[in-house]
């Protein structure tokens, strides 16, 4: 089975988020970048499927050269090879066009990614890739097993419950917890990752459909009002009369 896993390079969860003085772009200074945590669920599930059934796992990132550290990390975790589309990921449509172009060239059986990225929180790329390729998209999937060589059984979260689906390959699935338990690369993985193929290709497609004009931060909370534990019940009347949320 040929599996493509799309990964995004995002600021670590604990990063302080800052923007450049004009508020027009994200300030990368002092920020550590990681593989998007949702994409890690997709990556480890892909590796588990490969280990059980054979096949290959290719990781794909649309990004500039500074994303290669995390692409190598994905190779160290167990992917076989990697592709980087050499471009700033302008928006979801642009990224989806790059992924779809690579997928058309290589005809993968399965395309996996996280249900969203923790930086832009768009949840858009998987749907766009599926539509561009004309194949089903299962969003968000928290369980994925192969029934046989051509059909998968998935469980998808819906508001208030879950759905069980059986879908023939090829399709796109966007992963969420608990699809798999993300792995930490071991020393052998890190050594072999250095020599695994990482191909760099130039972007194609018409481009973005949105423009990010500016960024801002939410207003700071005015501070916490502490209530004495002895009079805990007072909280309920404050929530009703002061905060007006009850």
């Amino acid at each position: 089975m040929k599996i493509l896993v799309c990964i995004s390079n995002v600021p670590d969860t604990t990063s302080k988020i800052n923007f450049t003085g004009d508020g027009k772009s994200f300030d990368k200074n002092g920020v550590q970048f990681v593989i998007n945590p949702w994409d890690e669920y997709a990556l480890t599930r892909a590796i588990e499927l490969k280990e059980a059934k054979g096949g290959t796992v290719t990781v794909l990132n649309v990004g500039e050269a500074d994303t290669e550290a995390n692409i190598r990390k994905a190779l160290a975790i167990g992917a076989d090879d990697a592709i980087r589309v050499n471009a700033f990921p302008k928006d979801a449509m642009f990224v989806a066009q790059q992924i779809a172009a690579i997928a058309k060239e290589n005809s993968y059986d399965l395309i996996l990614m996280g249900k969203e990225s923790i930086d832009f929180n768009g949840s858009q790329v998987h749907g766009m890739v599926g539509e561009l390729l004309g194949i089903p998209v299962i969003f968000p999937a928290f369980k994925l097993d192969m029934i046989d060589d051509t059909t998968a059984r998935l469980e998808r979260e819906i508001e208030g419950g879950k759905e069980v689906l059986e879908v023939k390959l090829p399709f796109v699935a966007s992963a969420q917890q608990p699809m798999s338990e993300p792995r930490i690369p071991n020393m052998r993985g890190i050594m072999t990752a250095r020599t695994k193929p990482l191909k760099v290709v130039e972007p194609t497609g018409e481009g973005a459909q949105t423009e990010y004009a500016s960024f801002s931060k939410p207003e700071k909370k005015s501070g916490v009002r502490m209530i004495d534990a002895e009079n805990a019940g007072e909280l309920i009347s404050l929530l009703r009369n002061e905060a007006k949320v009850l």
Partner: protein
């Protein structure tokens, strides 16, 4: 030209998130000098659809095909794309549910449109420019985004838009059908399993959420969370360590890798407030933190706090809440 709003039904009623989308759509229509039409899918009473007039909807297209009671992306897309074309919709509004995000992204490709998800405010419209504010960096920032495509698709974040209740009279309801074939339902779910809510409230739609962490010491103590939730008409949630240890089911886990919620009131009991947890709840309007450790980081993000033993404090809250 018009504004089209997707309205989802559930058990005969219109979802609260769809009422928010309808309110959003009719305000956009006003700003553009046009009217807002709803396309309604799912299990819903016609009388409930006519009442969408209160949110400013003038006309409802209703596809009552029973096969649409479950979400099937391909079938839903056909219905919405056809409605958008019939109404010459230039703006399409979804709620940012699992359904809205799934449809918005496919529709953006199909209609060659621009999509913004997780949108928290009405657009700023000036001439041809159409700018929306959306939540980014897991609630730590906002971005203002210009939608440059001919068709603009907006998925509105839950609980970020007030529901209008007197924006108009009664909406006209028209039957709408696009002649769906069995092939459109090829990827229908084999089975749908709904959570047992015990007569309670579903977490993603809840206005009040009571959440428990490791500080509660074990699943046997969850009656504290459940009783307080029941007294407040709230849904229950939990932190990641709690669902990892199977004290509570995964669908209750809120946080970075769980679900993101933005209720009016979030009450955290025995949760220290790791940054991963905050990412899932930081857009809640009012946050209450109850923790025995006065240094718990969660207090910095809270509006109200109580330092002390949850096993003594929560029963007092339950008593006060029942007395409301």
């Amino acid at each position: 030209m018009s504004v089209l709003v997707l309205v989802e039904g559930f058990n005969g009623e219109i979802k609260k998130s769809s009422l928010e989308a309808a309110s959003y759509g009719s305000q956009v229509a006003n700003a553009l000098g046009t009217e807002a039409t709803a396309i309604a899918i799912g299990e819903v009473q016609e009388s409930a659809l006519a009442a969408l007039g209160a949110q400013g909807i003038t006309k409802v297209l209703f596809d009552d095909d029973a096969r649409l009671h479950n979400f099937v992306a391909e079938a839903y897309l056909k219905v919405i794309a056809q409605a958008a074309s019939q109404e010459s919709a230039k703006v399409i509004i979804f709620s940012n549910t699992n359904i809205g995000a799934a449809l918005g992204s496919r529709l953006a490709v199909r209609l060659n449109g621009s999509l913004a998800t997780n949108v928290t405010a009405l657009p700023v419209i000036s001439g041809d420019s159409f700018t929306v504010r959306r939540g980014v960096f897991s609630g730590k920032a906002f971005a203002d985004v210009n939608l440059t495509g001919d068709v603009k698709i907006v998925a509105v974040k839950k609980n970020s838009i007030d529901i209008s209740s007197d924006a108009g009279g009664t909406a006209s309801v028209e039957k709408f059908s696009v002649g769906l074939s069995d092939a459109d339902f090829a990827f229908a779910p084999k089975e749908t399993v709904m959570q047992e809510t015990d007569g309670g409230v579903l977490l993603p739609e809840a206005e009040i959420v009571v959440s428990g962490g490791r500080g509660l010491k074990g699943p046997e103590n969850w009656h504290l969370v459940e009783d307080l939730a029941k007294a407040l008409g709230a849904a229950t949630a939990c932190s990641k360590p709690v669902s990892d240890q199977d004290w509570r089911p995964h669908h209750e886990h809120v946080g970075q890798t769980g679900i993101t919620i933005s209720p009016n009131l979030y009450i955290a009991i025995g949760i220290s407030g790791a940054i991963q947890h905050l990412a899932g709840v930081n857009s809640s309007k009012v946050i209450v933190v109850i923790n025995k450790d006065p240094e718990a980081p969660f207090f910095k993000a809270a509006d109200y706090g109580i330092v002390g033993d949850a096993f003594e404090i929560v029963p007092k809250l339950i008593e006060a809440a029942r007395a409301l």
